[in-house]
């Protein structure tokens, strides 16, 4: 409640500030930065982390910027209205943080050429519209190393949301890493058709554990799978946020998203006039993915292996999607010596050799 109160105070202050400006007393007005979230900021997952990024940026720039956000914006016609309203109300820069905001963002960007737009996870760009995305597969690779070493039943469970390239890519990443440390490892994938539904995620976690899985990795946003893991005495890895508090024993570590570096960098670029439209990918190297709260109860060799994989990816020594690599249908999907480009990464629609599953149509 205190947080709300503060927001409210800030709102009043900024309103007072705006009033002061309209009388022409001040020389420079703060840059206005808007954020559009698909979920509630209290989801403790995707939108929560974006909002943390916003608050970090606010703290970094102080009164040089003024940030606003709209949460729970449905992906559809409503999104366009929200984004347009933001552009109309004098925002200089607008971040839209869900894939489904792509077309509305593009449309509004065309209509407001003087406003800068940044859209997360999409692929449409324009003179005033950039895209940015996380290299989540880097985090998955580290998760796969730990999972492969920790599983005693040689079965890793993956709670998957929707069969889109990001999720498919990450499943591959987990499996190739796990296989590199444990040749007998198998992966069981369970599609739950949602990004966020604690009950369903919990059901899926339990169903996987029933089938002999003893390490859980999730591509959904609630801490429910970790809580299930804790109850059943298996291991799990947190997603998007630091979920250590939900499962003191089961939690191995969390791969936390950190959007603040990108938000701070982008705002600075616009202030300096150096911003250019681009397709930005951030991972360990940019500190936008963080291995958070490694559990003390992990064996020393697992901790070492996790740190090594993280450091190797961060330094660029290790690039997970490097050929030769075959799909599980026997097709050569990455030529020997080739590393997938960002564009190719965005289109991964095959499982690698050894994954005993098909991608749902």
């Amino acid at each position: 409640m205190m947080k709300k109160h503060k927001n409210w105070q800030r709102w009043v202050t900024s309103a007072a500030l705006a009033l002061g400006l309209s009388t022409g007393a001040m020389a420079e007005d703060p840059m206005k930065v808007g954020f559009v979230y698909v979920g509630p900021v209290g989801d403790y997952g995707w939108s929560y982390e974006h909002d943390r990024g916003r608050m970090e940026a606010q703290k970094f720039f102080g009164d040089k910027i003024e940030t606003t956000f709209v949460e729970k914006v449905p992906e559809g016609a409503d999104a366009e209205r929200v984004i347009r309203q933001m552009a109309q109300s004098g925002h200089d820069l607008i971040f839209t943080t869900s894939f489904g905001f792509m077309n509305p963002t593009e449309k509004v960007a065309k209509r407001f050429p003087k406003v800068f737009f940044e859209h997360a996870t999409g692929y449409k760009r324009a003179k005033n519209l950039s895209t940015y995305v996380l290299r989540t597969y880097e985090g998955r690779y580290v998760s796969g190393i730990a999972a492969g070493m920790m599983t005693k039943t040689n079965t890793i469970g993956y709670i998957a949301s929707f069969p889109i390239p990001e999720v498919i890519r990450d499943i591959n990443s987990v499996y190739m890493a796990a296989k590199s440390v444990n040749p007998d490892v198998k992966i069981k994938i369970m599609w739950v058709s949602t990004w966020y539904d604690p009950v369903k995620e919990s059901e899926a976690a339990n169903a996987l554990i029933d089938q002999g899985v003893d390490v859980l990795i999730q591509h959904t946003d609630s801490p429910a799978p970790l809580m299930a893991a804790e109850k059943r005495g298996v291991k799990a890895i947190g997603q998007a946020s630091d979920m250590s508090k939900f499962a003191p024993n089961a939690h191995m570590f969390s791969i936390r998203d950190d959007w603040a570096p990108h938000y701070i960098k982008t705002i600075q670029e616009i202030m300096d006039g150096t911003w250019k439209p681009e397709d930005f990918w951030g991972g360990f190297a940019e500190d936008m993915l963080v291995v958070a709260s490694v559990n003390d109860n992990l064996p020393a060799d697992v901790k070492t292996a996790v740190t090594k994989a993280h450091d190797d990816i961060k330094s660029g020594k290790l690039k997970p999607f490097t050929g030769p690599m075959k799909s599980n249908e026997g097709k050569l999907v990455i030529e020997a010596g080739h590393t997938l480009t960002d564009e190719e990464l965005a289109g991964v629609n095959w499982f690698i050799e050894g994954i005993d599953a098909t991608i749902p149509k």
């Binding site: 409640m1 205190m2 947080k3 709300k4 979920g39 509630p40 900021v41 209290g42 989801d43 403790y44 997952g45 929560y48 069981k188 994938i189 369970m190 599609w191 739950v192 058709s193 949602t194 966020y196 539904d197 604690p198 009950v199 369903k200 919990s202 059901e203 899926a204 339990n206 169903a207 029933d210 089938q211 609630s222 801490p223 429910a224 809580m227 946020s241 508090k245 939900f246 499962a247 005993d356 599953a357 749902p360 149509k361």
Partner: protein
Amino acid sequence: MDIDLITNILFATFKTGTPLILIALGEMVCEKSGVLNLGQEGMLLVGAVVGFIAASVTGNYFLATFCAIFAGMGMAFLFGYLSITLASNQVATGLALTIFGGGLSAFLGTNYIGIGLEGIQVWSVPLLSDIPVIGKVLFQHDPLVYLTLALFALVFWVFRSTRLGLKIRAVGENPEAANAIGINVQQIRFMAVLFGGAMTGLAGAYLSLVYTPMWSDGMSAGRGWIALSLVVFASWKAERILLGAYLFGFASILHLVLQGTRFEVPPNIMAMLPYAATIIVLVWLSSDAIKTKMSAPKSIGQPYRPLA
């Protein structure tokens, strides 16, 4: 498929079905009395957040469960005051309650995000829980699963063989006639609405104190709506609600377990199924003849204004 797996599926079925039964039974009583409350999702979230806050502050789950029930009743009181006392449009009021509940719960829960609790523990029935298979499936649950079955029995009995059940039905079928024979229509309806709120609040406690002992915005993820359609499917009969809810739970677990086998159903079809079925039933129900056949309460959704 081995016996352990089947045991686990059946065990999970009971857990998954429980919140649906609670919400649907409460809503059924409400609708039987002629009031359609579409605010289930909002009441559920408020029940969940209040239960969670009470549990994290006091550490007493018994007390927390009651707080959740009272929170649900508080929301229901608001709905009752508007839709019964002031005779507002029930559909609009219910939808407003859902939106209000979503916002209120998010506001109340701001400082409780990111905390996990122990949750209400399993309460095994002595002796019976040692029976192989059946013991695990039926007698190793948390207290709320048993309480839900007791509440089902209560509702079933009230409508089957009590005057109160008859009165509720009379009010829902023909409030004018009920009024004429001296039944206080508004009082009965208000009580039914409050009962519905209590049940939904309890279901909220089940989500935030048993199933996933935590709070996050919108954690009910549409269960209030599914329960709402369940009432229609069950054609306002308690025993069918029980069956339907467990069937729904069973189907959703089975769908997960069957993935990767040759019995696989495409996950997106499964995810869409409850909603698609709801639409079909609602379209189907818009015909009056079918409505009668389905034994829908006749005056459902119509506010009653006493003449005096």
